[in-house]
C-alpha cells in the first residue's frame, strides 16, 4: 500500500505489507502447533504409564482371575515396612555413592591425562568411547565371563592380588564381593562418559586463563586445583546429574550378572521392582516400587537442576 502522494518512505515494501497474522491453531506462527506432535506423544507414552502406575499402586492383581482389586494404601504401608525393600534401597544408595565417586575421580584423572596431549591422543579417545556404546546386555555378558571364578581373567587378577578368594569369587559364592563385581562393569562402561565431558570442559577453558596462571607462577598441580577445576564446575555438575539419574535406575547389569543374588546382596530398587512385577506377578506392589523410584529420581534430578541453575 503505497502512500497516496506516491512518496516512498525508505522502507522496503515487504515490511509495509507485513502478512496479516492469521489466527487459529493451524498457523505456522503458533508454537503449540509445532510442539503438539511430540508433546501429545510424550503425554500419552510417559504421563499415561505414570498415572496408570499410580492407580495400580493402589490395587492388587489377582493372577487367577486376572483382575485388579482396589486395596487402598496397603501397598504403600507394606512398602515402608518391607525389609527386602529397605535392603534394596540401601544397596542402591551404596551403589550410587561408590560408583559416582570412583567414576568422577577416575574420569577426571583420565581426562587430565588425555588433555596433556600424549602421543596418539585421537586413537586413545576413540578407544575409550567404545565401552560406553556397548550394549549393557553385551557388557554384562562379557563381564560375566571375565569375572568367572575359574576362567575369568579379572577374577584371576583379583585372586592373585588377594582381594577375593577361590571360595568367595567376585560373582558367586556367598555374595560378599558381588556388588563389587557389578560395580566393575558400571565403572568400566560409564567412566568414559565423565572423561569425555571433562575433556570437552577442559577444551572450552580459554588458554589465556591457563597462561595467566602460568605467568603468575602456578605449578601444574595448582593450575589444576585452583584454576581448571573451578572452571569445570558446570560440566561436572551436568555429568553428575546424568550419572546420578542412571545409577539410581541401574537394572541391566544386575539382571545379567547376578540376578540380584547371591542372597539379595546385589538387589537394587529397579531389580526388586522388576522381580515383583514380572517374576512374582505382584503388579500392584511392583507399580508401587516403580512410582517410588520415579518420584525419588525426579526429586533428586530437579532439585539438582534448581540448585545448579541449569538451563537447556
Amino acid at each position: 500500500m503505497a502512500q497516496p502522494g506516491g512518496v516512498t518512505v525508505g522502507l522496503p515494501s515487504s515490511t509495509a505489507e507485513a502478512p496479516t497474522p492469521k489466527r487459529g491453531f493451524f498457523n505456522s506462527a503458533n508454537p503449540w502447533l509445532w510442539l503438539s506432535p511430540a508433546l501429545i506423544f510424550l503425554i500419552v507414552y510417559s504421563l499415561g504409564p505414570f498415572i496408570l502406575n499410580i492407580v495400580m499402586s493402589f490395587t492388587e492383581f489377582k493372577a487367577r482371575q486376572k483382575t485388579f482389586t482396589f486395596v487402598g494404601v496397603d501397598n504403600w504401608t507394606d512398602l515402608f515396612q518391607d525389609s527386602r525393600f529397605h535392603n534394596a534401597l540401601g544397596i542402591t544408595v551404596q551403589y550410587v555413592v561408590v560408583a559416582l565417586t570412583i567414576q568422577v575421580c577416575l574420569g577426571l584423572l583420565i581426562a587430565v591425562l588425555l588433555d596433556s596431549r600424549p602421543f596418539g591422543v585421537g586413537l586413545m579417545q576413540t578407544l575409550i568411547i567404545l565401552p560406553m556404546v556397548t550394549a549393557p546386555v553385551v557388557a554384562g555378558m562379557l563381564f560375566r565371563l571375565l569375572t568367572h571364578s575359574e576362567f575369568g581373567y579379572i577374577d584371576y587378577i583379583f585372586q592373585n592380588l588377594g582381594i577375593v578368594t577361590k571360595d568367595e569369587p567376585l560373582i558367586g559364592g556367598k555374595g560378599v564381593y558381588a556388588l563389587m563385581g557389578v560395580l566393575i562393569v558400571e565403572i568400566w562402561q560409564w567412566t568414559p562418559f565423565i572423561v569425555l565431558i571433562v575433556l570437552a570442559g577442559l577444551k572450552s577453558i580459554p588458554t589465556e586463563v591457563i597462561e595467566a596462571a602460568q605467568v603468575d607462577g602456578a605449578s601444574a598441580w595448582q593450575r589444576f586445583w585452583r584454576v581448571k577445576l573451578p572452571l569445570l564446575r558446570t560440566v561436572l555438575s551436568i555429568a553428575i546429574l546424568f550419572r546420578l539419574v542412571d545409577l539410581f535406575r541401574v537394572f541391566d547389569y544386575v539382571a545379567i550378572l547376578t540376578a540380584g543374588g547371591p542372597a539379595l546382596h546385589t538387589e537394587t530398587l529397579s531389580y526388586y521392582g522388576y522381580v515383583n512385577t514380572f517374576q512374582q506377578v505382584k503388579f500392584g506392589y511392583g507399580a508401587t516400587i516403580g512410582v517410588f523410584l520415579m518420584v525419588v529420581v525426579w526429586i533428586v534430578a530437579f532439585s539438582y537442576i534448581r540448585i545448579f541453575r541449569m538451563k537447556w
Binding site: 510424550l42 546386555v137 571375565l146 503388579f283
Partner: protein, 329 residues
C-alpha cells in the same frame, strides 16, 4: 640471539657459546619428549585397561577352544579359527561346531538345544531401530525448531517435562505399557516396540537437535520471512539445511540406543520372531561350563561391531547427545 642474551642477563649466567645454547635447547627438547613419552605410557596403560575387555571378546571369537581359556590370555598371534562365526552368522549346526572345536565328548552339556544363529535377530534389531529413528527424527526436528525459535509461555516447563521422560526408570514404564498394549491388542507387535523406542529416544533427539538450531542465527529465519516465507517455509526451506549434521548425529545415537535397549524389548515383544538382539543374547546361560564361550564371543562381537562403526561418524557429537545438548564436545 636476542632471546638468549636477555635470558642470560636476567639469570645472570655467564657467557655461553651458541653451540652450548643449542645443546641446552636440545636437552630441554629431550626432557619434554621424555615427559610426553612417560605421559603416553601412563595414559596408554589406563586406556588399554578400558579397551582390553572388548579386545578380549573380539579375539575370543576367533580363538580355539583351549585358546579362550589360556591364562594369561593371548593378545595377538593366537591360532585363529572361524568355527564360532560359522554358526553365529553362517547358521552351521551347533553340535557340529562343538564336536569340531571341543572334542567328541563335550557339547552334550548345557545349551545343547540353544541355537546360536543370530541373523534373524540382527535383522529385527535393525528394522526396529531404523523405524523408530525415522519416527523420532521426523517428530523431533519441528519440535526442536519451535523450542529454539519460539518463546511460548512455560517453555522451561515444557523442557523439564521432556527431560523428565528421559529420567523415567524403564521398568516403571514397562508394566503399564504391557497392560495398555494388551488392552489395545498391541502386545507382541513391532509397532508397539517401535513406539516404545521412540519414547526412549525422543527427549534426546529433541534437545540435541534444539542445541544445533540454537547455533543457527535467527537472522536467517527473519531474512526468509522477509522474503515471503511463513514460519514453516523458513524452517523447511532454509534453516533445516544447517542442522542436517545435527539431525544425522541424533539419528545415529537413536539408532545405537535402540539397538542396545533391553527391558522394553524383553517385555513388549515376547515372541522370537520379533525379538531384538540383546533379548536373544540375554537368554544365553553364561554361567554354565565353557563350551558356549566361543559362540557367545562371536554373537556379542556381532552386536558390537555395527555400533562401533557408526560411532566413528558421530564421535564428536556423542557427549552433546548424551547430555541432551547441555555440553558441547
Amino acid at each position: 640471539m636476542a632471546t638468549a642474551n636477555s635470558t642470560k642477563s636476567r639469570l645472570g649466567v655467564g657467557h655461553k657459546s651458541e653451540s652450548e645454547w643449542r645443546s641446552i635447547q636440545r636437552q630441554q627438547h629431550r626432557r619434554q619428549f621424555l615427559n610426553r613419552l612417560l605421559l603416553t605410557i601412563v595414559t596408554g596403560v589406563i586406556v588399554f585397561i578400558f579397551f582390553y575387555p572388548i579386545w578380549f571378546w573380539v579375539t575370543a571369537s576367533f580363538k580355539t577352544f583351549t585358546g579362550i581359556f589360556q591364562m594369561p590370555p593371548q593378545l595377538l598371534g593366537f591360532e585363529a579359527i572361524g568355527s564360532w562365526w560359522s554358526t553365529v552368522i553362517g547358521g552351521r549346526s551347533y553340535l557340529e561346531v562343538v564336536h569340531e572345536t571341543v572334542g567328541a565328548n563335550a557339547g552334550t552339556g548345557g545349551g545343547g538345544t540353544v541355537g546360536y544363529y543370530i541373523v534373524p535377530f540382527l535383522v529385527n534389531s535393525a528394522i526396529t531401530g531404523l523405524l523408530s529413528t525415522l519416527v523420532v527424527i521426523s517428530v523431533a526436528t519441528p519440535t526442536a525448531y519451535a523450542l529454539s525459535r519460539f518463546n511460548p509461555s512455560g517453555k522451561q516447563n515444557i523442557i523439564f517435562f521432556i527431560l523428565s521422560t528421559r529420567f523415567m526408570p524403564a521398568f516403571a514404564a514397562v508394566l503399564p505399557l504391557t497392560q495398555i498394549y494388551r488392552f489395545i491388542g498391541w502386545d507382541d507387535t513391532r509397532i508397539g516396540l517401535v513406539l516404545a523406542h521412540v519414547l526412549i529416544n525422543l527427549p534426546l533427539a529433541i534437545l540435541l537437535i534444539k542445541s544445533f538450531f540454537d547455533d543457527v542465527p535467527t537472522d536467517l529465519d527473519d531474512a526468509a520471512m522477509v522474503d515471503g516465507c511463513n514460519r514453516w517455509g523458513a524452517f523447511w526451506r532454509i534453516v533445516i539445511r544447517y542442522v542436517i549434521p545435527g539431525m544425522g548425529a541424533a539419528a545415529v545415537l537413536c539408532l545405537i540406543f535402540s539397538w542396545n535397549e533391553f527391558l522394553f524389548s524383553l517385555y513388549l515383544v515376547r515372541i522370537p520372531d520379533l525379538s531384538t538382539l540383546p533379548v536373544f543374547l540375554s537368554g544365553f546361560d553364561t554361567a554354565s561350563g565353557g563350551t558356549e564361550w566361543g559362540f557367545l564371543a562371536a554373537a556379542g562381537t556381532a552386536a558390537m561391531i555395527p555400533v562401533f562403526i557408526f560411532i566413528l561418524f558421530v564421535q564428536r557429537s556423542l557427549i552433546r547427545g548424551l547430555t541432551l545438548g547441555a555440553v558441547r564436545g
